[in-house]
Assembly symmetry: C2
Homo-oligomer: 237 residues x 2
């Protein structure tokens, strides 16, 4: 096994393997927010997010969206398809919260009339600005078919994950995903789907079960990440 | 003639007339920038913008986009169709400049690969945020057909005005338009098309001939507004 680091991000490390088509993802406990301005550690986060992502990636794959997951190999690691990432964060929002709530003047907790799709251009220096399709075609090489597919896939993720979570007592408020091309040129959902990248609210109490506990200093962060894993690991209540 | 003010904006006053389908627009010399933070007066601006808008509105109407213009009646006034305005600023950019240049990290003066369409939600408290179609459907009542029409119309404006100006020594860098429904429910281009709402650069020198001279304290503001009127009033050089 090689230990060559291909890329180190805020929450994960990507290691090479002997197979150029396969990478090893290591999930870290490091947490950042507000474009890296706030930094910290959430004990066990790497374990929770790796395990939660595995469960949700399998669900998503069954729903017809190719993912990067090959298999989870340890508490904090999974083998994944090598991807050339597309520098976009693709967001679907079911309920207004966070930055969208502020930007649009819609009180947090207000359901959107219909799920709302957004693209953000991944660029730390620019603060990951909201972009539309015209901006995207100017900023990168991507076909209109592929860009459309990102939207279709992300709505499919929502349609699969939202009811799965609701049956387990979790409201999917919004989530962010990223995509990349595998070595055969196929678009796959990459990165992770976890309390770091989604807003999860308890379906009964609307209590936050996600990284907003870190962003907003709400406490009990580890306990809520663990609770999300417990709920998604078990059959519907 | 009535003097009842229906609406007073930053740059224009809308007066009622005896005909509920017709309003009288008065173009002011007041200038604002940065969402009203910077204020001033540009001598003669009302006259120049009224006259420039008349010329461009006629051109746009000929290109198949209904406008609010009925007729210019004095130096600073025009009669116009009564419109119920749609709270969107519709922008087409041919060349990166201003806020888009900063937001996307594209140096000012870089041509876009193709004209780029943007929608901003008109809300002073929110700072007129960039929105996409999903946001728009959540923020207001508008059909997808009508929203699509706003895009089609705005590209038609670009296709008509851009070559007209270039023949007169002016590059159309970007522009902002607004639309409304007339009393028969027809969408018409409203507001104005002037150095206040467009970026005009001299085709030879790239000197700015628009409100950026006010925003950026470049001086000679009145002279450049007058020069734009002189060029659009005359046949191609």
């Amino acid at each position: 096994m090689t230990d060559k680091i291909l890329y180190e991000g805020k929450a994960k490390v990507v290691f090479a393997t002997d197979d150029p088509n396969v990478v090893r993802l290591y999930y870290k406990d490091d947490a950042t927010a507000f474009n890296g301005v706030k930094k910290g550690t959430i004990d066990g986060k790497g374990y929770y997010n790796n395990a939660i992502s595995e469960i949700l990636f399998k669900l998503i794959e069954e729903a017809g969206v190719p993912t990067q997951l090959i298999e989870r190999t340890s508490e904090r690691e999974m083998l994944a398809h090598t991807l050339k990432m597309i520098p976009l964060e693709v967001v679907v929002r079911n309920v207004a919260a966070g930055s969208a709530s502020k930007r649009l003047g819609i009180p947090e907790g207000t359901p959107f009339k219909r799920p709302t799709l957004e693209f953000f251009y991944k660029d730390d220096d620019l603060g990951d600005p909201l972009v539309n399709e015209y901006h995207i075609f100017n900023l990168m090489e991507i076909s209109s078919e592929d860009l459309e597919l990102l939207g279709i896939y992300t709505f499919k993720v929502n349609d699969a994950v939202r009811p799965f979570l609701l049956e387990r007592g979790i409201r999917l408020i919004d989530f962010k995903v990223e995509y990349g091309y595998d070595n055969e040129g196929r678009i796959r959902l990459g990165d992770e789907l976890s309390p770091d990248s989604c807003r999860f609210w308890d379906a009964e109490t609307n209590e936050k079960m996600d990284k907003d506990r870190f962003r907003r200093d709400l406490g009990d962060i580890e306990a809520f990440y663990a609770e999300v894993l417990r709920r998604v690991s078990n059959p519907p209540a």
